[in-house]
């Protein structure tokens, strides 16, 4: 198992804030909009540097999505900022008609995604947003794993023409990716090469997968860990190349089991190379109040649950008998 270490922890939303400032410096067409959550979205640095390119919308997310769509007409690249719940479910039809169907170059930037927003509870903990967004034709869906990757992704989406959903979170998490990385939309990142199981992880679950991989190595299991930061378009080639070797899969995400990364991977498998797969995901339920780590454990999203899923899927793989030859 390749060694990953960290010296610092930061929230991925701060990676977004830093990336937004960089994107703003690189391209004068980048503008930012926020629905009364400037501090939570870490947009202060951009606002300080480019006050005339920031638009405070107030608590009116539907209006924000429409304004963002309109601002693209004339060449602006709008980045909208609010919580993931208010970036998707609350404004689904605005995104669908005015942004996705209208082919508008809007970057929907969503913080506080998933359970790890913590104490605010289920009203704010959206676990369906990846599914909602990936179902929209033409939408790119990205869920980076740490501060550095979120910053790099934010800069990258400004250069990509088309609507993007960028999902990140509130808690401080280890920074373990390269600060100078070049983020390639749709290109999976090989975290660790292995031969016994493919672990495909996104967002905060990538670090949990690394922790699981270290323990699995001690147990004699050689796990391949791949970071699927872009859920759409999905890096099907990387998935198929990995499973050709490992022959079983665990998918890990801070999202409902229904409609997330796991289902996207399952579709690739069933169409190309049907194999046993286990899901590390929320089992079709709402969240609740609590500390992020407590919630990740209770809802089965920590490294211990990844290890259990790996053991289960390897057992399933080994139980698959050679197909019997039936004489006709």
């Amino acid at each position: 198992m390749k060694k990953y270490s960290f010296t610092e922890k930061k929230d991925t939303r701060s990676g977004f804030g830093a990336g937004l400032l960089e994107a703003g410096k690189k391209n004068e067409n980048v503008v930012a909009l926020c629905a009364d959550l400037v501090g939570s979205l870490k947009m202060e640095a951009f606002i300080k540097e480019f006050p005339e390119r920031f638009f405070q919308i107030g608590i009116a997310e539907a209006n924000m999505m429409g304004i963002a769509a309109g601002m693209t007409i004339g060449g602006k690249i709008p980045f909208t900022g609010t919580f993931a719940n208010f970036s998707t479910g609350r404004v689904y039809d605005q995104i669908r008609q005015s942004i996705a169907y209208s082919d508008k170059n809007v970057k929907i930037c969503a913080s506080h995604a998933g359970l790890t927003l913590g104490e605010d509870g289920a009203t704010h903990q959206i676990l369906e947003d990846i599914g909602l967004m990936k179902m929209l034709p033409g939408m790119t869906v990205i869920n980076p794993c740490d501060y550095n990757q979120t910053k790099a992704a934010t800069i990258a989406i400004a250069d990509h023409h088309g609507p993007v959903y960028l999902r990140f979170g509130r808690p401080v998490v280890p920074i373990f990716t390269d600060p100078d990385q070049k983020f390639e939309i749709g290109k999976a990142w090989m975290v660790n090469e292995g031969k016994d199981v493919s672990i495909f992880a996104t967002g905060h679950l990538v670090w949990e997968a690394i922790l699981a991989g270290e323990k699995l190595a001690e147990m004699g299991i050689d796990a391949e860990i791949i970071n699927i930061h872009t859920i759409k378009p999905l890096d099907e080639a990387a998935i198929l190349k990995s499973v050709a070797k490992t022959r079983c899969v665990v998918t890990c995400e801070e999202h409902n089991r229904l409609g997330g990364l796991g289902d996207s991977v399952a579709q690739v498998l069933v169409k190309n190379d049907p194999l046993p797969q286990e899901y590390v995901a929320v089992d079709d339920s709402f969240g609740e109040s609590g500390k992020p780590a407590e919630l990740m454990t209770k809802y089965g999203l920590d490294s211990e649950n990844i290890i259990k899923a790996v053991q289960k899927v390897i057992a399933r793989k080994n139980a698959v008998k050679s197909p019997q030859v039936v004489e006709l």
Binding site: R53, N63, G66, A69, G70, S98
Partner: protein, 285 residues
């Protein structure tokens, strides 16, 4: 650029008659669509595209240094398509494809099929005012001193997003925006006063901080007067809202003044009756 200082009312009246012929023929041909609101807003759209707006028929999505129009009540697509074709955005023969398979003239307007003149999809109501505000903000950032126009249904004002946008535009002094409401008092299920009354619209928009005007949407001279006056009131710190009274179905006597022709196509006999009332010397598509 199509703007002229001189108003040729006779010419505009003729164009409006032809557009009304196009509307009833298009809706009849596919036996679906929305003739009522289309006929009611014909004079407005003809005035806008044939006299008021500075616009280029050589279409480009960004629309820099030209006036833009956003149709928020997308179901009146027949009048929008006819006016776009008649003012040169695409060939009038394409009107025959309205609502048919593989057409760029979808039931509700969309950018998705690349039809020149359309800058946003609309149909799901209440979204166009926000979009227009966004386009107006970009014009300001780009130091582009042209205008943004919109049209909304009065029933559409029942959508909450309209009032989010209504609050935003005056607060942010979006004064390069001229919006219009098709105030015909009708919606699918009946008169607006019965379905969900709109109250005192003038007082409401004024209370939100808009510069509110009124005009008769079925009197071409008054539409031109109203839109010219609106232009003269732009760039003075407030967005402008025009309450435009219209008759749903205007121009075809049996379609006028009733919600019943909101989304119903005429049969062969009704089509002939309608065309007999809309005689003009232009060519049908």
């Amino acid at each position: 650029m199509m703007n002229t200082e001189h108003v040729d009312l006779n010419k505009l009246t003729t164009v409006a008659k032809q557009v009304r012929r196009d509307i009833v023929r298009m809706v009849h041909q596919c036996q679906s669509g929305h003739p009522g609101g289309s006929l009611g807003c014909t004079d407005f759209l003809v005035a806008l595209y044939f006299h008021i707006m500075n616009h280029k028929t050589d279409f480009n999505m960004d629309g820099t240094n030209e006036d833009l129009f956003f149709l928020s009540n997308g179901h009146i697509s027949p009048v929008f398509y006819s006016v776009l074709a008649r003012s040169g955005y695409f060939d009038v023969s394409e009107l025959a494809t309205f609502r048919k398979l593989d057409s760029r003239l979808q039931g509700h307007p969309t950018t998705h099929e690349g039809l020149p003149g359309i800058r946003i999809a609309s149909g799901s109501l209440g979204q166009g005012l926000s979009v227009a505000i966004g386009a107006a903000l970009t014009k300001k950032l780009n130091n582009d001193s042209s205008l943004v126009f919109t049209l909304h249904g009065d029933g559409e004002l029942q959508e909450g997003q309209i009032w989010e946008a209504a609050m935003f535009a005056p607060h942010n002094k979006v004064d390069n925006l001229i919006s219009t409401i098709d105030y015909n008092g009708q919606q699918i299920d009946g008169p607006t006063e019965k379905v969900l009354s709109l109250g005192n619209l003038k007082a409401k928009w004024e209370a939100f901080g808009w510069d509110v005007m009124e005009m008769n949407g079925n009197d071409l001279a008054d539409v031109i007067r109203g839109l010219e006056e609106a232009k003269s009131r732009a760039f003075k710190g407030k967005p402008i809202m025009i309450l435009m009274t219209t008759n749903m179905g205007h121009g075809v006597d049996f379609m006028m003044g009733s919600h019943k022709w909101h989304g119903v196509a005429p049969n062969d006999e009704q089509l002939q009756q309608a065309l007999d009332q809309l005689v003009c010397d232009m060519q049908d598509y």
